[in-house]
């Protein structure tokens, strides 16, 4: 069977006419059928080849649940008793998820349920907004399978006692596993939440995850979002995190990519109201054959918004780091302040960096800047350390760790930060 047939069969099996999502799924399936998978010719995908990831050995649909113990062994340290949302092979599993906060502050239910109850209007209005920014088959393909997704609402004025950790388990024991998680988050007026995403390749085969996460923040809401990718080099990922700031609110995102085969992250901040503020940080620390591609969009539609962005990359071995940062300032978005910076260090003699910072500005009273650098470690700094008896390996690790610290420091949750730091330090063999 070819890929198209596999996907078609899975789609037919999973879609039901009763669901409030069926029209949405249908529309996305049609779009996917028309557009297909993006090729390198597609400007947004020119550095990242994903077509060949879709082999005819791909397994989609079915899922077998892991044991509770398996799940707990993969929990982020310190967050074992926090809110957890479990996805298995791209399907939300209610019975394995654990909601710590009570119903007066946090609601978690399947997207399908939400599309039929009091949240139906919100779902209708906000689900699929990311497609306006990604008119490609990959976003549409996820939409076609949205029924397996989850909906989460943080209620008005509440701040959660613990972060919400979303774990994505992909069972690769029978071959190339294709998962398509879908998440819709509603953060109501004055609410505060931290969302952490973590990915686990549960098996010894290859995985491919195609995720779409959409978040809306209302007046005075605060969102902290952290994405940690360290699934191993057998896993590929295409993911979109789409954040709409519907009213004056504060969002803060950190994306950390440590391993993978082909990893593509889209992060969008759509500032639809005045006085919005958003921060975007990213670190890609790559080795082997990994290709990590971070595409970010800051869309300033209204005046008086502020955004700041810093992405850093360290490439070793044959790895490739890709960064594309778009800043749009629409016609009426006067007094916008938007800053962007991308810094790369090439370590491996076969490593590469492709970067494209992009400004599109239609208003005059703005302050926008971007900068990017690609280079090697500072010889003087290396010499300084070596002159003090530190070996070349340790000196390098020390400098790289310091380079990564700028991003690590941005993770506000202590447990997550410690966890990420441990992964990075291990990778750099950093011991002092």
């Amino acid at each position: 069977m070819d890929v198209k047939t596999i996907l078609q069969d899975t789609y037919t099996a999973s879609s039901s006419a009763q669901s409030g999502l069926s029209a949405f799924q249908q529309e996305n399936w049609t779009n996917f059928s028309n557009w297909g998978l993006p090729a390198l010719k597609h400007e947004e995908w020119r550095y990242t080849r994903i077509r060949n990831l879709f082999s005819d050995k791909l397994i989609a649909g079915q899922h077998q649940l892991p044991a509770k113990e398996t799940i707990s062994s993969f929990m982020l340290p310190g967050l074992e008793s926090a809110n957890s949302i479990i996805f298995v092979n791209g399907y939300f599993v209610h019975e394995l998820s654990h909601i710590q906060d009570d119903e007066s502050s946090l609601i978690v239910k399947s997207l399908e349920t939400a599309s039929n109850d009091e949240d139906a209007l919100f779902v209708k209005q906000n689900l699929g907004h990311s497609a306006r920014y990604h008119t490609d088959g990959i976003n549409a393909l996820n939409g076609a399978f949205a029924a397996g997704g989850v909906y989460m609402r943080v209620k008005k004025g509440k701040s959660l006692t613990a972060p919400v950790a979303i774990y994505h388990f992909s069972d690769s024991s029978n071959g190339l596993r294709f998962s398509q998680p879908r998440v819709l988050v509603n953060i109501e007026t004055g609410a505060q939440a931290t969302v952490v995403e973590h990915y686990i390749n549960w098996g010894s085969g290859d995985t491919l995850t195609n995720e779409v996460l959409e978040i809306c923040t209302s007046q005075d809401a605060v969102l902290n979002y952290i994405k940690i990718q360290d699934e191993g080099n057998a896993s590929s990922h295409t993911g979109t995190t789409h954040i709409r700031q519907l009213a004056k609110s504060l969002t803060h995102a950190v994306t950390i990519t440590l391993s993978g085969n082909v990893v593509r992250n889209n992060l969008n901040m759509v500032m639809e109201a005045e006085h919005g503020e958003s921060h975007m940080y990213g670190l890609y620390l790559l080795e082997g054959e990994t290709l990590a591609d971070n595409h970010t969009i800051v869309d300033n539609a209204m005046p008086h918004c502020y955004s700041n962005e810093l992405y850093k990359g360290i490439m070793d071995g044959h790895s490739t780091g890709v960064f594309n940062g778009k800043i749009f300032v629409r016609k009426d978005a006067q007094k916008t302040n938007a800053y962007q910076s991308n810094k790369n260090i090439l370590i491996g003699s076969n490593s590469a960096a492709n970067t494209k910072p992009q400004l599109e500005i239609f208003a005059d009273d703005v302050k926008c800047s971007h900068g990017c650098t690609i280079g090697k470690l500072d010889e003087d700094a290396l010499f300084y350390l070596r002159a003090r008896g530190i070996s070349i390996e340790n000196a390098q690790a020390l400098l790289l760790h310091a380079f990564a610290m700028d991003i690590l420091d941005q993770i506000k949750d202590e447990h997550v930060r410690t966890f990420a730091d441990k992964l990075i330090s291990n990778r750099l063999s950093f011991t002092i």
Partner: protein, 494 residues
């Protein structure tokens, strides 16, 4: 009470500033006249016969016709590129006259025999065709519509071995050089407009600097579109042999017309070991009127190759004209230790659109490049910088610095940056920075306080903004360019 007065005052100041901006961006195009010269034209439209007609008109050898036909056939298979950040109606390539030459009764043996009308045209444009005016000290190749009408100082240049003549003459007189270098940097198949140009180019300048010669004067080409409904397709080729140096200037103007005219040129530069070529452009094609009607579509491919070690190519451009500019002067840094530079000021006003930038392709070791691009947008114009810095796998210790700044005058224009940076070598050092802002109220206030009125202050600030690029221009050009900058923006500051 005091607060009220303050805000009132602020409002008045604001309004005054806007008025002045308005004035500055509203000036007129002064080269918009038409010369009444009888012209020899090809029939409208483009077929193989048109290509043959042009080739026959120029009495070209068969290999040249072959070259053209091959390019034409390839062009037919291609599609107009649509990736640029430009919007314009589809060009009907059958609505254009591909060859138009001012009729001259006899071929001029000396400059005195040139049609006085033509001479007058160039005098009006401030270009001296008269060799007596040695004071200007610049050799000029004057191209009107499709053909070169005069090349000055040819004799003097030939004494040191420099060849400077029209492309048509070069095809007749130096076929070996042309065969060797034409299309070597910009192949006909490179893109849609190079294929079109290769098929129908009618003239242009050829310049050859022999080994070890430092060209004794600035060389320049002056392009003028005169006839209606025509397209201009010229081709410039500069070859700098080992250890030579040349500074080359290019200027362009066109009459004011309601229709859009197409200009698709190709410039190729070859720099051998230790050679240096400095290419400066002041592009002032007719930009269209204030409603965006008319103006030149300027689709130009410019590329140089630093073929030898220690060679250097430097592009400087001041872009104020054309309703649409699509232009990316590039350098291929093939030789070790070679240097590429790109300095650009692009000004857009009213409904102009510019998508311009550069490509620096680092292939050799220890190559260096520097990009300084300043965009100024006013009115309802759109100004984009699009550039590529590429470091190949074997290009160790490459170094690049890029800076793109945009200045926005008015709230209806746009400024965009699309820099592509691709590095495949871990010893490379690449830096890029870009900013976008408007003229600060505090800057204007600072000048006002010192008795400088707002209009002068704005001109001062714009000049300062563009200075880094202006400084790269040869002196004669810098003065003209600075004036042009002021005129282009007249009525737009506020």
């Amino acid at each position: 009470m005091l607060n009220f007065a303050d805000s009132k005052l602020e409002q008045i100041m604001q309004e005054e500033q806007e008025d002045i901006l308005e004035q500055i961006t509203n000036s007129d195009y002064k080269y918009g006249f038409v010369t009444d010269i009888e012209a020899d034209e090809a029939p409208m439209g483009l077929t193989e016969d048109t290509v043959k007609f042009i080739s026959a008109k120029k009495n070209e050898p068969s290999w040249m016709l072959e070259y053209r036909l091959k390019a034409f056939r390839h062009w037919q298979t291609m599609e107009t590129p649509e990736w640029a950040n430009l919007t314009f109606p589809t060009i009907n390539y059958q609505d254009i006259i591909y060859y138009s030459a001012p009729k001259q009764k006899v071929a001029p043996n000396s400059l005195d025999e040139i049609d006085p009308e033509l001479r007058k045209t160039f005098e009006k444009l401030g270009i001296s065709l008269d060799e007596q005016k040695r004071i200007s000290g610049i050799a000029v190749d004057a191209v009107i519509d499709s053909v070169s009408v005069a090349t000055t100082f040819r004799e003097e240049l030939s004494k040191v071995g420099v060849i400077f003549c029209s492309m048509s003459d070069a095809i007749q007189e130096h076929p070996d050089l042309i065969k060797k270098h034409l299309g070597s940097v910009v192949p006909a198949t490179d893109n849609y407009f190079t294929a079109l140009n290769a098929a129908v180019f009618s003239d242009g300048s050829f310049c050859y600097i022999p080994k070890g010669v430092r060209c004794p004067m600035e060389l320049s080409t002056y392009f003028r579109i005169n006839a209606a409904n025509t397209g201009q397709f010229e081709r410039t080729l500069i070859v700098a042999e080992e250890g030579s140096y040349v500074s080359y200037l290019e200027g362009c103007t066109a009459p004011m017309r309601d229709e859009n005219q197409l200009h698709a040129a190709v410039v190729e530069i070859v720099a051998m070991e230790k050679a240096e070529v400095k290419y400066s452009t002041v592009q002032n094609w007719y930009p269209g009127d204030k409603e965006g009607k008319g103006g030149i579509y300027n689709f130009v491919t410019k590329r140089g190759i630093c073929a030898g070690n220690h060679s250097k190519i430097s592009w400087t451009q001041v872009e104020t004209g054309s309703s649409i500019t699509w232009k990316y002067p590039s350098v291929i840094l093939k030789g070790d230790y070679s240097i590429g530079e790109f300095y650009s000021v692009a000004v857009t006003n009213n409904f102009q659109q510019a998508d311009t930038g550069t490509k620096m392709v680092h292939l050799g070791k220890n190559t260096r490049s520097r990009i300084v691009s300043k965009g100024i947008s006013a009115g309802k114009s759109q100004n984009s910088y699009r550039g590529l810095v590429s470091v190949a796998k074997n290009a160790s210790d490459a170094r690049n610095f890029s800076q793109c700044d945009s200045l926005l005058l008015g709230d209806k224009c746009g400024a965009h940056t699309f820099p592509y940076i691709e590095v495949k070598n871990n010893t490379a050092m690449v830096e890029h920075e870009a900013t976008t802002s408007k003229i600060g109220e505090d800057q204007i206030f600072y000048c006002n306080q010192r008795g400088i009125d707002t209009e002068t202050a704005v001109a001062l600030i714009i000049n300062g903004f563009a200075k880094e690029v202006m400084n790269q221009l040869p002196m004669e050009f810098a003065v003209e360019a600075q004036k042009l900058l002021a005129i282009s923006l007249e009525g737009s500051v506020g």
